[in-house]
């Protein structure tokens, strides 16, 4: 039986990144089929590592920050692929690959404590869907935020000599936020149902829950703001999107460093 561990991560990650980079390159060269194939192949290789790790750990790799980064690195190209196949933006695969590399590098150069134990409260069928859905949401929101930043920077970004036209991406950004918010809602509600089974109450205003609520409300505010006229850039809306994403970071890992949360959050597992 092959035993996959973090020692094998570098090899899998290198192959995946190479395939994703090739896919991104093909997207620029307008070879759509090659771009899709290569990206999917890279995702499959990365997926193989996650599944292997899952089997050898005998639990879903979702507990430590390092393990959730693994999912983030996985879902970014998935989200990129989805956007590329639907809206055909040439640059999105480069974006998602680059972002994924960042998370992979963090895992290689600053790995967490990787151990096997999983406390009883985390041993639940809700665990995997709750975290995976959230990770997918984070990846999508990350992509939407990057697009908004690109639009705000506007002419400062030059691609092949041409300046980037930020006014054309309003609909894709909105679509991404809608999809991300749908996943965020599902993740949050699954968390509530799980909390009822594990801790006796579906909502306890635990610091992580409180920040999740604040984040959710900000994204709700975003989707309730009307569209700007065609050909313009909704600047205030994009600033709100950036603030919402910062709030999301606070919810995801920022609270681990918050004194109020360390005192008694049921959600801080990896820091001891």
């Amino acid at each position: 039986m092959i035993h996959i561990s973090w020692d094998n991560f570098l090899a899998f990650a290198l192959i995946s990144v190479a395939l994703w980079a090739l896919g991104a390159y093909c997207a620029w060269r307008d070879s759509r089929k090659a771009a899709l194939t290569s990206t999917i192949a890279g995702i499959a290789v990365f997926m193989a590592f996650i599944v292997g790790l899952w089997i050898s750990l005998e639990r879903p790799p979702l507990r430590t920050m390092g393990e959730t980064r693994l999912w983030y690195a996985f879902f970014l190209p998935v989200a990129g692929l989805a956007v590329y196949s639907r809206w055909r933006y040439k640059w999105i695969l480069s974006f998602s690959t680059l972002m994924s590399i960042v998370f992979i590098c963090v895992n290689i150069f600053k790995p967490d404590i990787h151990n096997k134990t999983l406390m009883p409260a985390l041993q639940s069928p809700w665990f995997a869907p709750h975290v995976i859905v959230y990770m997918f949401c984070y990846a999508i929101m990350g992509a939407a935020t990057l697009m908004a930043i690109a639009a705000l920077l506007g002419d400062k970004i030059k691609i092949k000599g041409k300046s980037f036209d930020g006014s054309l991406i309003q609909h894709p950004v909105n679509n991404l936020v809608n999809i991300g918010l749908a996943f965020m809602t599902l993740g949050m509600l699954m968390g509530a149902l799980w909390a009822k089974e594990a801790w006796g109450h579906y909502w306890a205003w635990d610091p992580k829950e409180t920040w999740a609520a604040a984040t959710w409300l900000l994204y709700l505010a975003y989707i309730h703001i009307g569209n700007a006229p065609q050909g313009t850039i909704p600047r205030k809306k994009y600033y709100l999107l950036i603030v919402a994403f910062l709030c999301l970071q606070m919810c995801w890992w920022g609270i681990n460093y918050l004194p109020s949360a360390q005192a008694g959050s049921v959600h801080t597992y990896s820091i001891s």
């Binding site: 009883p120 809602t185 509600l189 006796g200 109450h201 409180t210 604040a214 409300l217 505010a221």
Partner: protein, 396 residues
């Protein structure tokens, strides 16, 4: 300002007004006592609120304010300000926030807007279904969860193996006598395999500090390296007793109450033997723990084993004459006569030899209502995912 049509400016002014009113109420009336919402006050308030929202929807043609309340210009400001208020609560983590008037008024205004939007979009189309399901779900869940909280009972019960227990205590240590009694037949803990770590003799911290390492003694693992120390396990007793011989301490296999875990190890560093055939043990309520001093700076110790699963095999008796056997464990509560019984804790000083189990009993009569809301929200989220990208221009 206040010239029609109203915009975000008026929406923000309403929210600001609510905050001022809330602050004044806070100063004069004082914080909200949610216990006053106990049955039947909460059902009356819920009916009044729902009735007001439905009436408001009927009257919308006559009142600009009501039409405005279900517009984005009313929604966005309250969403942003509520998010900020919630984030502030997230930083301070003061429970008092939840009974603070301005905080509650923000959520109430949001709830009313959500209710009005629900009524407004009760029309059969996919997009309206998505909006109705999300908003109705949020309105029902938020209203029921908030008003129902006063009816929720959370009690702790300590059960022992000798006799049935029917008394439980609440958060204020007040004793409640229940209509059901629970006796503990058996309590079990499964533990993760023992592990060895190197600690700093002075601080007691696991090393290396930035990335603590451990040697997990499981299956075939008998040796490994931590901080350059090569550790080899020669023998491992899951259940052991400490036996003092003339000049040394020894461990022998022993499977009774109070047994500890012990490992016999050799430690070398750079070919130099630091310890040969020394015992390391994590101790129990009966035996002290035993570490191994490697040098002036470092020691090898076995931390307490982490519980993998703990469960109570219990018998539950009710006043109505039911007698049921159940195994209750974390994440697997047991339902009986409106109560959910949870595994909460055990006597941690006794560790795996605990003869007591601490259970939590929760009764939340409003749960079906909240779950209806959550169910609608889930349907709304799925519809939102399915319809994303379709409503390109449909945004008035």
């Amino acid at each position: 300002m206040w010239n029609k049509p109203w915009t975000y400016r008026e929406g923000t002014a309403i929210v600001a007004g609510l905050l001022v009113v809330g602050a004044m109420l806070q100063l004069t009336v004082g914080p909200i006592d949610w216990n006053l919402m106990a049955w039947p006050v909460n059902i009356i308030v819920a009916m009044v609120l729902t009735g007001a929202v439905v009436t408001g929807n009927v009257m919308r043609k006559r009142s600009y304010m009501l039409r405005f309340a279900s517009s984005r210009h009313a929604a966005v400001p309250v969403l942003i300000v509520t998010a900020v208020a919630t984030a502030i609560y997230g930083v301070t983590n003061m429970r008092e926030t939840l009974s603070c008037w301005p905080f509650v008024l923000l959520y109430l205004w949001m709830d009313i807007i959500v209710g009005l939007v629900t009524c407004k979009h009760l029309k059969p189309s996919l997009r309206n279904m998505c909006i109705t399901a999300s908003h109705a779900g949020l309105f029902i869940a938020l209203t029921a969860a908030t008003l129902g909280s006063a009816d929720m009972q959370r009690l702790k019960m300590q059960v022992n193996s000798d006799q049935p227990e029917w008394r439980a205590t609440d958060d204020n240590d007040k004793v409640h006598e229940l209509d059901l009694a629970i006796s503990l037949n058996h309590f079990t803990i499964d533990e993760y395999p023992p592990k060895l770590v190197v600690i700093d003799n002075e601080t007691g911290k696991t090393l290396p500090t930035d990335k603590p390492q451990s040697l997990v003694l499981e299956d075939s693992v008998t040796e490994g390296d931590i901080m350059g120390y090569h550790i080899k396990t020669k023998r491992l007793h899951d259940y052991a007793a400490q036996v003092a011989t003339k000049d040394t301490i020894n461990y022998v296999a022993w499977g009774y109450n109070g047994a500890t875990t012990a490992a016999l190890v050799d430690v070398t560093k750079g070919g130099k033997t630091l310890a040969s055939g020394e015992w390391v043990s994590n101790g129990s309520f009966m035996f002290p723990y035993k570490g191994l001093r490697l040098n002036d700076k470092h020691s090898l110790v076995m931390p307490e084993r982490e519980p993998k699963r703990y469960a109570s095999d219990v018998t539950i008796y009710t006043k109505s004459g039911l007698k049921e056997n159940a195994v209750i464990e974390v994440n697997k509560p047991y339902n009986i006569e409106g109560w959910k019984v949870y595994q909460l804790s055990y006597d941690e000083t006794m560790g795996r030899w605990s003869k007591t189990s601490v259970l939590e009993l929760v009764k939340d009569p409003w749960l079906p209502c909240v779950y209806t809301g959550i169910g609608l929200l889930i349907i709304g989220a799925i519809l939102m995912f399915l319809t994303a990208g379709r409503k390109e221009e449909d945004n008035k």
